[in-house]
């Protein structure tokens, strides 16, 4: 049984600094003058492969209440970070906070978000639907060059974090999988690059058959169980106390 918390690192990432924690958990999160601290922290996450969903949601919350703070680049970066949290709902949680019509009067340049939002949403649903080959095709298409050149190139380890989404999905569903299939999910050419990637995961490749074995874990190890009923003492409390009272 996998009973270790799946969310504690999400609620409070170990990398989150004290100052950010006080903003995320306190009422200072509503103070518009703190937005730059949170924005700086986002760019720190982008450079150092960290991720702090709640801190990023705090930025979107400030934008929601103070439309004049709205900065489309920040929003796009937040969405890109949230994209690879799939199958967890981070991406949707961010979108929920976006006002339908951002106020753009204070921007010097045209707002890039309306153009990119449908693309990001499509990318998200491809990941959420485990359609990894389709994700890579779309991601590398010419149409998405602006997204790659202007945004994801800055997000250190972006492609690897997409691969981690695929790895999570494969690990829980497969016990063995062909390297060809894995290669298409991870967008890595079959050969040394793929081999070293999967061996780091603790997966073993049988080079003769081209089949990768995945160690058993809580999700790909299946057992048929019969759930027996389990009676707790408190359920019997009434009966026992009644018996005790009448004897």
């Amino acid at each position: 049984m996998s009973s270790e918390s799946a969310t504690s690192a999400w609620v409070t990432p170990p990398t989150r600094p004290e100052l950010i924690e006080s903003l995320v958990s306190g009422v200072d999160r509503y103070n518009p003058s703190n937005v730059s601290i949170l924005e700086d922290y986002l760019y720190h996450q982008i450079r150092s492969q960290e991720y702090d969903c709640l801190a990023n949601l705090a930025i979107l919350k400030l934008y929601q209440f103070n439309p004049d703070l709205y900065n489309p680049d920040v929003v796009i970066n937040i969405l890109i970070k949230a994209l690879t949290a799939s199958p967890f709902p981070d991406f949707n949680l961010c979108i929920s906070l976006l006002d339908d019509r951002p106020q753009t009067a204070h921007l010097d340049e045209p707002d890039p978000l309306p153009q990119l939002l449908p693309t990001l949403t499509t990318l998200h649903s491809l990941l959420h639907q485990c359609r990894f080959p389709a994700f890579w095709t779309l991601y590398h298409s010419d149409d998405l060059q602006p997204l790659r050149d202007n945004y994801t190139v800055e997000v250190v380890g972006f492609e690897d974090s997409v691969r981690e989404v695929a790895v999570r999905a494969v690990r829980s569903a497969f016990t063995r999988i062909t390297s060809k299939r894995v290669a298409s999910y991870l967008n890595l050419p079959e050969g040394p690059e793929l081999e070293s990637y999967v061996s780091k995961l603790g997966w073993t490749l049988d080079s003769a058959s081209g089949v990768i074995s995945i160690p058993l874990n809580a999700d790909n190890k299946i057992e048929s169980t019969v759930v027996q009923e389990n009676i707790q003492l408190p359920q019997l409390a009434k009966i026992i106390s009644h018996t005790a009272a009448t004897v």
């Binding site: 929601q64 199958p87 709902p89 949680l93 929920s96 999905a169 019969v226 009923e229 009966i239 009644h242």
Partner: protein, 609 residues
């Protein structure tokens, strides 16, 4: 002057004759102010004339108030002055509603200024009176723009009085009323947000007023949050809850929460403000923050902080909805199961409550959400809640099992059962061009945005029911064969299998977590599988038959029957009337003994069979 015992108007409509304890002339003794008239005659100018006219109008309005209502207000005021919770409760829950039905079903109650002489212009009572006055306008009539602004002002006055007095106020109010104050404050905020977003129906004058209001922060999200957070901080409610959970004694707790937190009024307002924040954040689409503010609150039906049913129901409704938006369907299901069962059990006590309708409406929406969750995370729940949900939403229930075809049913139930979503910001009333653009091309309603996100989640899972129905028939199956059955591309089908795996796992609270956001990944489905290259292997988990619940219920029932028998007098009274008391006791014991013995034999017989 205080009335001892139960006031008559609460028990009966006809109170005129019986309400003699309150001296009306005493209470309104200062009214009339004859001196003023002399003064007016000496200097006749426009302003004074207006004032007189106004005064006369007020007098006329005052004269129109039925005596029954006047007496009620005087008595209500007295109860509030005396901090007599019992009498306040009766006036609040029963008297007000009764008189509303009788005199004000279709019109406003008299304005606070009119009734002021009855209560010696007591400013606090007038604030409370206006709170009721505007609530009545919102629930029974159509609030106009002035009502909306004034109800906001009045709420501000009330909260200012509570939060910014030099020391804790000594006022006491019933828990139910305190809940209603917070609940209504948020309702009026939400109502205002919806109303202000409809630009087209506004007159030019209203547009100007709305622009002014926006610049002054009237009904702004910030001001509403400010009130709720201030009440939480002033009352130190979070510290109180934590101290209570740590088992601190009363003195220690009093030390921790300070002079405000020890007062029930502040403590309950603080607690209700936490629930209020849960609601406001949900309405604004911030589902994580909504659950995060609930960090310290224990969602345990047995350890409830308050006995206000409306608050409990509301808490579970919003928490469950947030869980749905976090794709944590198991947690939503668990919450709805416990509160819906609670409502069923409480039903007999609530049928006469004035909130019964509201609670029932929320319960129905929770049945709908329960059905939605059950379709997304099917698990074996042997429960009458499931059957009731099927009864209420049978058609949608079946459709939702059908993948893509069922999307319309998900949509229908979501829109029926979701909270009222609001936009955080008003339309651009300060910018005529932007406003025109806003009217020509209105933004999507917030509910539609959240619906779209939810349906995207549903759509991602759409292939699951079909796959599931096939997989249940096999213990192992070749992927290409399954693809053949489904008339689908094998590779695509394998990807859908990964989706199915994802959908069969769910972050869920397992117990003992701190905070509602915590949880561990748990399997939700009775069908599990793994893929060995191209071969699918399936296993099914089964639930053994459950006997214990039935036996426990039956045993408890038997014990109750036995108790009743033991305590009831004999059917045929004995001849010796004098010894009746003793005789009954003795007689009751006698049949009880053999009967208990007989029961043992009967149970033994069943066991053998």
């Amino acid at each position: 002057m205080a009335q001892p015992g139960m006031p008559i108007w609460a028990a009966d409509d006809e109170i005129e004759e019986d309400f003699q304890g309150v001296d009306l002339n005493m209470a309104i003794g200062n009214y009339g102010q004859n001196g003023l008239y002399d003064e007016v005659q000496s200097r006749i100018d426009e302003a004074a004339l207006l004032a007189v006219q106004q005064q006369m109008q007020q007098q006329a309005a005052f004269a129109q108030i039925p005596d029954q209502v006047k007496r009620f207000i005087v008595h209500f005021h007295q109860a509030v002055l005396n901090n007599n919770l019992e009498e306040i409760t009766v006036a609040y829950e029963s008297g007000w509603n009764r008189l509303t039905e009788k005199f004000y079903a279709k019109t406003e109650w008299p304005e606070a200024e009119i009734i002021a002489p009855l209560v010696n212009d007591d400013p606090i009572f007038l604030i409370l009176y206006r709170e009721l006055y505007y609530r009545h306008v919102y629930s029974r009539l159509q609030p106009n723009i002035d009502d909306r602004f004034h109800s906001y002002e009045n709420s501000c006055e009330l909260f200012n009085y509570l939060l910014n007095s030099d020391e804790p106020v000594t006022l006491e109010l019933p828990e139910q009323w305190l809940w209603d104050i917070i609940d209504e404050f948020i309702y009026q905020f939400q109502s205002y947000c919806v109303w202000r977003s409809r630009v087209k129906s506004k007159s030019d004058e209203e547009l100007i007023l709305l622009q002014e209001a926006a610049s002054q922060g009237v009904w702004s999200a910030y001001s509403v949050l400010n009130v709720l957070y201030s009440l939480i901080q002033k009352s130190k409610i979070n510290e109180y809850i934590v101290a209570q959970q740590e088992g601190k004694n009363e003195e220690e707790i009093a030390e921790i929460v300070g002079e405000y937190g020890v007062r029930p009024l502040y403590r309950m307002l603080g607690y209700f403000s936490i629930i209020g924040l849960l609601r406001v954040h949900t309405m604004l689409g911030d589902f994580t923050l909504a659950l995060k503010v609930m960090e310290n609150v224990e969602l345990n039906p047995k350890a409830q902080f308050t006995r206000v049913t409306a608050c409990l129901v509301s808490t579970y409704y919003y928490v469950g909805f947030c869980y749905i938006m976090l794709r944590r369907y198991m947690d939503a299901i668990r919450g709805y199961l416990s509160i819906l069962n609670f409502i069923l059990r409480m039903r007999q006590y609530h049928t006469r409550s004035y909130q019964y309708d509201q609670i029932n409406k929320t319960a129905d929406r929770m049945y709908a959400l329960f059905a939605v969750c059950n379709a997304l995370a099917p698990s074996r729940i042997d429960d009458n809640i499931l059957n009731t949900a099927k009864e209420k939403f049978g058609e949608q229930f079946t459709k939702m099992q059908r993948g893509e075809e069922g999307i319309a049913a998900f949509e229908e139930l979501f829109l029926y059962a979701c909270p009222k979503f609001i936009s955080a910001n008003p339309p651009p009333y300060d910018d005529p061009d932007a406003l025109t653009a806003y009217v020509d091309d209105p933004p999507t309603e917030p509910a539609q945005r959240h619906l779209a996100l939810f349906l995207a989640d549903v759509r991602a899972q759409a292939p699951v029911p079909t796959l599931r129905s096939f997989l249940k028939l096999y213990t192992s199956l070749d992927a290409s064969k399954l693809a053949g059955f489904l008339d689908a591309d094998e590779e695509e089908m394998v990807q859908q299998m990964m989706v199915m795996k994802q959908a069969s796992r769910c972050v869920s609270r397992v117990g003992g977590e701190k905070g509602l956001l915590e949880g561990a990944v748990r399997p939700t489905s009775d069908l599990d599988f793994s893929i060995d290259e191209n071969m699918l292997h399936m296993v099914e988990s089964t639930v053994g038959r459950r006997y214990a619940g039935w036996f426990i219920r039956s045993t408890e029932n038997a014990q109750r029957v036995l108790d009743t028998l033991k305590n009831s007098p004999l059917a045929i009274p004995t001849k010796s009337v004098a010894a009746n008391g003793q005789g009954t006791d003795g007689a009751a014991e006698q049949p009880a003994a053999p009967r208990a013995g007989g029961q043992k034999v009967a149970w033994g017989g069943v066991k053998v069979a």
